[in-house]
Symmetry: C2
Subunit: 211 residues, 2 copies
């Protein structure tokens, strides 16, 4: 089973590395980081680069496709090379997945039309404009399309998918291996739980730039 994780300039690292850490433990998995060109690809903060070992045109027919999000999504929405590749890869994939605003790329490629899907909470309205049917859920499965909410939600998506592909026991073993027994020190991880003024600050870019 070939797993292709697509990266591009200014993607969000954890969007890709969360699912990578879980899915690469699937029995028989061969995981590859792929980008328009091979070589280092910088994440959104500029402080981290990951290596794309293969170029898009070298990866044909991955079984499982992972599309992370991040501020760089906006530029990729207008990149026909990436969108064409997503359509081609999706045509033969067994699973097509995304994390965070990665679902906008799937939607822009026309792959989520009228499908239930999710995205970063701040991108759900835009996801609807691209023709998908957004839900506020953390992990959404519609046929072979599995989309995750923002950044860290890719871990939950990947564990869910691992259970579907390799069974509950294997998924539990991976959860134990990665000691995924989360104990966040705060309970502010969703717009329904965080203080309202923080939600507003993030929406308007007042504290961090989301793009």
């Amino acid at each position: 089973m070939q797993i292709a994780i697509v990266v591009y300039d200014r993607f969000t690292a954890l969007d890709a590395v969360g699912p990578y850490e879980i899915l690469s433990r699937l029995p028989g998995a061969e995981t590859v980081f792929v980008a328009e060109r091979t070589g280092p690809v910088r994440t959104d903060t500029g402080a981290l680069a990951v290596t794309a070992d293969q170029a898009l045109d070298e990866v044909r027919g991955p079984d499982l496709l992972v599309v992370p999000g991040g501020p760089g999504t906006v530029d990729q929405l207008k990149n026909p090379a990436l969108l064409d590749w997503l359509r081609a890869a999706d045509a033969t994939s067994t699973w097509t997945t995304s994390v965070c605003s990665g679902s906008l790329l799937l939607a822009a490629a026309g792959l989520l039309r009228d499908r239930r899907a999710t995205s970063h909470w701040a991108a759900l309205d835009l996801l609807k404009e691209f023709g998908a049917a957004p839900t506020g859920d953390r992990v959404v499965t519609d046929g072979k399309y599995v989309t995750a909410a923002g950044v860290s939600a890719g871990i939950d998506m990947a564990l869910t998918l691992t259970g579907r592909i390799a069974g509950d026991e294997h998924a539990q073993a991976v959860q134990l291996l990665t000691e995924y027994d989360p104990q966040p020190p705060y309970d502010a991880g969703s717009p329904h739980k965080a203080p309202a003024h923080l939600v507003e600050e993030l929406r308007t870019g007042g504290r961090f730039s989301l793009t």
Copy 2:
């Protein structure tokens, strides 16, 4: 504030990228991935490489030090270049942190003697042999030393530390930004919760190799 994240051959990606994603959002943070030599450093699966932008001897006096773990830890325990650098960096750091078996490296450098600390659940016994006082907690703070349990626990460690450094509100904003509202589909993330036979399989390397 300079944050140095140390990487080495066959580290575990999420050990480093979890804290990176959270801590690099600290106000005024300058984050750098550092290794013995600059260039790509392969993670434990072989499928992912991250770029070390600076060599150990280029990074002197980071304010915050992050040491991830992984199967490659075993080799680094005998690497005087790394252990010497850890001692030197720790001498002037404000915070010295680790994730997973990264605490073994801190302990091997003599930095955790008789200190409360944690590690991957399968490495706690070894941590004790290196002179620390292991606890089974997910995040342990003893003075300026903040250690996290296995792999995913680095996210909780980093959020806890963000609260200490920049205040609760900033930590909550980062939690919201990264939509860290975990909803694991299973409850098998600690040896106290997972089926006993899986704990045994992982301890004995029957399912995954931990080294």
